[in-house]
Symmetry: C2
Subunit: 330 residues, 2 copies
């Protein structure tokens, strides 16, 4: 089963944090639109495919391509988006995360984790593998806050070639000051880290993983956002093997320290061999320049498709087809 | 996978229709409380186990017992309840059904069926068997309207020893008059039947079944409410085998024509051999007198437990234990 956790956080509204932030009215639609695209082939909550300011399409197009070719089932979990998708989804009934510089980030985090644990237990009983992905604008920033608070030394990735590193560091400074901690100050209290500095997606995936039975494999589909979730799990005593499936673009990101962080957190890595270098479409070939890179479980979807006998090449070709149809329509 | 579709309809507010109706403030909580009970062992949306006016506990206690013993996964689908449960659930984003005597019953029925079909497709990909149950006060009445409109001749069951048959017949007369049809007048248009006379649960289960792939077995867990859904499917051209799993109490109900309707609709039947005759608790032994009878997939849960090697006797004993604990607590 492929589970996409869609979420929201006021961190996405901080100028410069999220690529979606350059067009703030679009932010509430991004994650729900990704959900619609995965299940129904195109957004219904809004009549447009989510793109970054330069027009690069959401990585949901890759995940959708993988699903078209490999046929795996996808469930959507809504954990604090500003708007719901049109497609059916599991409702966790939480608010979007708040800006940790000024407020507690995730309220009622214990109940959310409890519900998520239940959900993980239910899904784990009927699936041998669960790939868990996310769509959350601003999520690499909250990931950075978590990693810093737990004591990790490394920078997260981002969805553009130029990572707003200084801004993320400043947001850390302000947030850490609000709650009075230094780096590593919450290494013994992952729940408090989520509550004060995190986002609802982290609480949800964290909870789901703890609820899943031994016999089911968990694959965290994402880049540094999923490393942050893995770190929270490790600090909560979760010792089982964890696989983080991401894309080659994240591994290659010079601004980030993905491999080092992964080693520190003790997770295995899968790097999806995406290659759009031959694409006639700048929207896709720009992924090679560091635009977008990952998201909506693109890397995990490639992993899952491979398990089902579908090569990355087939997914890449399908992505091109879908993108061509998308541009032609517009 | 066991799926409980919780729903709501203004039909439940018609005096005399639903056993829950004698205490109208309770109606909005009944189905969500059943969902909480199944997943978390007790209601959280309200601090009380749903009981009928004489104090008989919700049949969710039987379903819960079956799940405790057999360990099957349960998903909740919220399709038009007045309130959400506290546990996680799949949100279909529809209003409760309206009273067909005065209004169109289910608005935007095509979209609901479409979403439900998607959901069926997703769940069907990851489960070899799907048991679909319902919790909907007033649902035997809307079931009656559907069966009548499709041309079936027989009375539905009810949750008390005395079935308000005349009232259900009057509701049919008034509703049929509103839309200008005679019995059988919508036999060729099941979607219109749901839209004008039905409830959101019917649309949801109908949609889910049509979305499920060939290889997955569907078990409709319920009494005459599920016969109505089966009838809608038949009239929409659904020819695959259908199993309706109910309880012996429904089969034995002298006011209803379960067996004849099942034969007319061409469904197979499973009759869960429940037996509370030896129970020291009137709350349970009264099931033998025709109180409650079925609901929340009690019959289907017994069927599912049997598939997993758990005898009906074990479920009955577990139900007694749970009920004992419940009374002791109060």
């Amino acid at each position: 089963m492929f589970v996409l956790v869609i979420s929201g956080s006021d961190v996405s509204k901080i100028p410069g944090v999220s690529i979606a932030g350059l067009n703030p009215e679009v932010i509430p639609y991004t994650a729900p639109a990704d959900a619609d695209l995965l299940l129904w082939g195109k957004p219904h909550v809004i009549d447009a495919i989510p793109v970054d300011p330069q027009g690069h399409p959401t990585p949901a197009i890759i995940t959708h391509a993988a699903c078209c070719e490999a046929g795996f089932p996808i469930l959507i979990v809504r954990s604090g988006t500003y708007l719901p998708p049109v497609v059916p989804y599991i409702e966790m009934n939480v608010e979007p995360g708040q800006d940790p510089q000024t407020n507690q980030a995730v309220s009622k985090v214990e109940l959310l984790v409890e519900k998520s644990k239940s959900l993980g237990q239910i899904l784990g009983k009927s699936s041998k593998k669960i790939v868990i992905a996310e769509s959350l604008p601003g999520g690499t920033t909250t990931a950075y806050l978590i990693l810093k608070a737990l004591g990790y030394n490394g920078m997260v990735s981002s969805a553009s070639p130029v990572n707003p590193v200084k801004l993320k560091e400043q947001i850390w400074e302000n947030s850490a000051q609000r709650i009075g901690i230094k780096p590593g100050g919450l290494s013994g209290d992952p729940m408090k880290a989520i509550r004060e500095l995190g986002d609802p997606m982290q609480a949800t995936v964290f909870g789901m993983v703890t609820g899943v039975l031994e016999e089911t494999d968990i694959i965290l589909a994402g880049g540094t956002q999923m490393l942050a979730v893995a770190a929270l799990l490790r600090h909560a005593g979760y010792n089982k093997p964890l696989l983080v499936a991401t894309t080659t673009y994240v591994i290659r990101d010079k601004f980030a320290h993905f491999l080092d962080l992964a080693r520190q957190i003790s997770v295995e890595i899968y790097s999806a061999p995406l290659d759009f270098s031959q694409s006639p479409y700048p929207g896709l070939s720009d992924y090679e320049k560091g635009y977008v890179k990952e998201g909506v479980g693109a890397g995990g979807a490639i992993w899952y498709a491979e398990q089902l006998g579908v090569t990355p090449d087939r997914v890449i070709r399908k992505t091109e087809q879908l993108y061509h149809a998308m541009i032609k329509k517009n």
